[in-house]
Symmetry: C2
């Protein structure tokens, strides 16, 4: 095995695998370093087991919670083995287990068989992130979970406290509630899913509360005593006790795995631990790149993939322009799903129109008895350009993709108008949103009769 | 009540309501003539009760089939009452129950209180369609159903034979099988859903067969004898008997309700009973328009709505150009859904590339244990223009909407490329389809390094 490569990729998660496979496809010789499991968080302790658990918890078919947890784990493990074999066998990729530390033009590798230096023209850092572990006074170690331990549970906790009402916390609240846990969710913030507009978060709040989850926004865990988690506002008095708590799931954000990489040796800049990258994915040190959660850009699997592709492009074609940065959507897979893309400040700028459309007005919502859900779209009044969108409702993860494409292609609402949406689909509701915009926009264009007619027709029931 | 109106709309189904409401919004005085129920087929015996039944049959929650049938009927009736009240009370619209026959500049109305003539500048025909009723020798009337009688059933038939494997037949096969019926589906054609590409239809075939439905393509009902439906090929021998048949649902296409309208009096042209219309929705007689199932254009609710809007536009702005005709998608709401848009001949033209992508390769399919499903997209090799798409898989009705928009806006695959699809969504699979196209397209453009790199990157796992 040679110790000189074209590229070293540190971390075999989503971003690292994308880069390694991509570069190998160009005939580059790649060392892919992984200190734990191929597939990273996504395959092992993130998207895959969490969505799998959400799926199986919604279709229990008489299985016990323990059986479902075991199924999720087995499927995860089979995928991990498959990926390990697949990437381990790839031409041009040497998959090496161990830890890496940056040196000039390469890394120092610490593995089972000691230390050695590997050199390369390019080093790509994709070491990911780990859960932030806030301490809870008095809580025994064996009752403390993060997403890293959660999917190893053999049994469903009778009473589960989740600290953090972000995507992980809310998705797992839904899954474990369905499996029979009594679930309480705490968060310092006054609103669950705080990155959502309040009326969008409220839909998820109502749905999850309706499932029997006890949501306690504005309250945090002060300590664990006598089997109970004592809760109160941040820095305030204890206001309540959650008795008989079996497990506490900590889901309060992520920390980048940037320590121990030797960034400081090479003068690589970080921002609150995250490796600063430019539009091409370059760090502040020539020849060193970063993608995914460890970088300043994106903290999702699709972001890691997208930035991975960007890094491949610029390693292969250094002088190519970086190009536009398409908007990245974000989906929380609660029931219903909550999806967003772009920017939607709480206060709407005066040149932007915010259209708020209730899902329940769609005919498909009538047939499927969907009584709650909202579409919120921000559109520039004059140009029809979409600035951002939030969808909370059935299939929101697919519906937001329509905006992913339209925003990438810079398709203003005037060009959406006239689209024939299938009846009775959920997408049909987007037609009503576009009509709403056109109705308003057209009446502001004086003297154009056809536009006026268009605008009025947009008012017609469809 | 005046007998002179700006417009008479004959038929208060989807198309007619769109036109009536639209014209009334422009201050036009409209007579809306309906001989049966407001809402037409869609509300009363079509989309609404069928999708409602599909929904409730998938979420039975311990209810009996009879209870579910009653629920579907109650909800349908409440919607019908709501629509009747809503449209009956609209300013500028007179909702009149009766039958219409065309005369010069108006109609002759036959209602409960006799006959009278109503005159108007415009008459819009939107009388819809009815099920084709093929006779089955020996079958008692009370065992013979079409979609018009189906939703009036008080009990779930123990054994149901469905004649016709089109959208209605296949959807109802799924719904009644879930409710406990033994279901056999016959069709003269050798393939269910014959408008689908064979490998797309095969996915629905496998899924519906897996549900326990007995599919018999290539066979038709010869006669009913001794409680059994005797079946065989068209014009051939009897090859099998379906015993103990309670009901037969006839779902072999639709006939336009164009008789009795007096079309011949005014020289209005028809094509196999359907009223011929031009790009603006005009019949061959000045001042007479047609929309929806009774016309030559479209036989879906969204088609009726889209053509209804077109007619409004041209009544209000006669000299406006007709404009482009956007593609109409089509969705069959089986499980999984089957959706198509555009043209996809079985034999692919040489300048078109057909991309066939298995859904099961998507990570979301892995987590949700979706093992079957396909995306088939036809793209012009040189321009990346989408000619047609077929999707059979979860949420296909929403995913096809992405094509509805992109084809309406004429967005070639080059402009799709780079879109960040949410992970792990089903829409993510479309990214793989676009990658496939780019990989192929880019290698055919010699001498452009950046495109070459793009094409190669498109091959990277995402």
């Amino acid at each position: 095995m040679s110790d000189q490569y074209d590229a070293i990729v540190v971390g075999a998660g989503s971003g690292g695998l994308t880069v390694a496979v991509g570069l190998s496809g160009f005939g580059k010789k790649v060392a892919l370093i992984e200190r734990h499991h191929v597939g990273g968080d996504c395959t092992n302790v993130g998207c895959i087991p969490s969505k799998s658990l959400l799926h199986h918890s919604s279709q229990q078919a008489g299985r016990s919670g323990s059986e479902i947890l075991a199924t999720v784990r087995e499927r995860r493990d089979s995928l991990r083995r498959h990926e390990t074999d697949e990437f381990g066998a790839m031409e041009n990729i040497d998959l090496i287990f161990g830890s890496a530390r940056l040196v000039e033009n390469g890394i120092e590798l610490s593995g089972d068989d000691g230390q050695r230096t590997i050199l390369a023209d390019h080093v790509v850092l994709s070491t990911g992130s780990r859960p932030r572990r806030l301490p809870i006074e008095g809580l025994p170690e064996d009752r403390y979970l993060t997403n890293e331990e959660l999917f190893e549970l053999d049994d469903v906790p009778a009473r589960l406290v989740i600290v953090g009402a972000g995507p992980i916390g809310m998705e797992m609240a839904v899954a474990f509630r369905r499996l029979g846990s009594e679930v309480t969710v705490l968060d310092a913030a006054p609103q669950i899913l705080p990155f959502l507009l309040p009326e969008a978060a409220a839909v998820v709040d109502r749905a999850v509360t309706g499932l029997g989850v006890d949501l306690r926004p504005g309250l945090v865990a002060h300590r664990f005593e006598g089997g109970a988690v004592e809760i109160g506002p941040v820095g305030g008095e204890i206001v309540d006790r959650i008795e008989n708590v079996d497990r506490v799931l900590m889901a309060v954000g992520r920390l980048p795995n940037s320590e121990g990489l030797g960034l400081e040796n090479l003068g690589i800049e970080t921002d609150r631990g995250r490796i600063v990258i430019d539009d091409k994915g370059r760090t502040t040190k020539d020849g060193v790149w970063a993608v995914g959660d460890v970088s300043t850009e994106g903290a999702t699997t699709h972001a890691a993939n997208a930035w991975g592709r960007r890094v491949i492009k610029h390693i292969i074609a250094p002088f190519a322009p970086a190009g536009d940065r398409p908007e990245h959507p974000s989906v929380t897979f609660t029931a219903p799903e909550a999806a967003t893309i772009g920017q939607q400040p709480v206060d709407v700028p005066h040149d932007v129109r915010r259209i708020v459309h209730q899902f329940s007005t769609a005919d498909r919502a009538f047939t499927d008895e969907v009584n709650d859900g909202v579409i919120i779209v921000d559109v520039r009044r004059l140009t029809g350009r979409v600035m951002g969108a939030t969808i909370v409702g059935p299939r929101a993860g697919e519906l937001i993709s329509i905006f992913s494409l339209a925003m990438k292609a810079d398709l203003p609402f005037h060009k959406w108008y006239g689209t024939v949406w299938p009846y009775p689909s959920y997408a049909d509701a987007l037609g009503a949103v576009v009509d709403d915009y056109m109705r308003d926009a057209m009446k502001n264009i004086p003297g154009d009769a056809v536009s006026w007619v268009k605008g009025r027709i947009a008012g017609v029931r469809s």
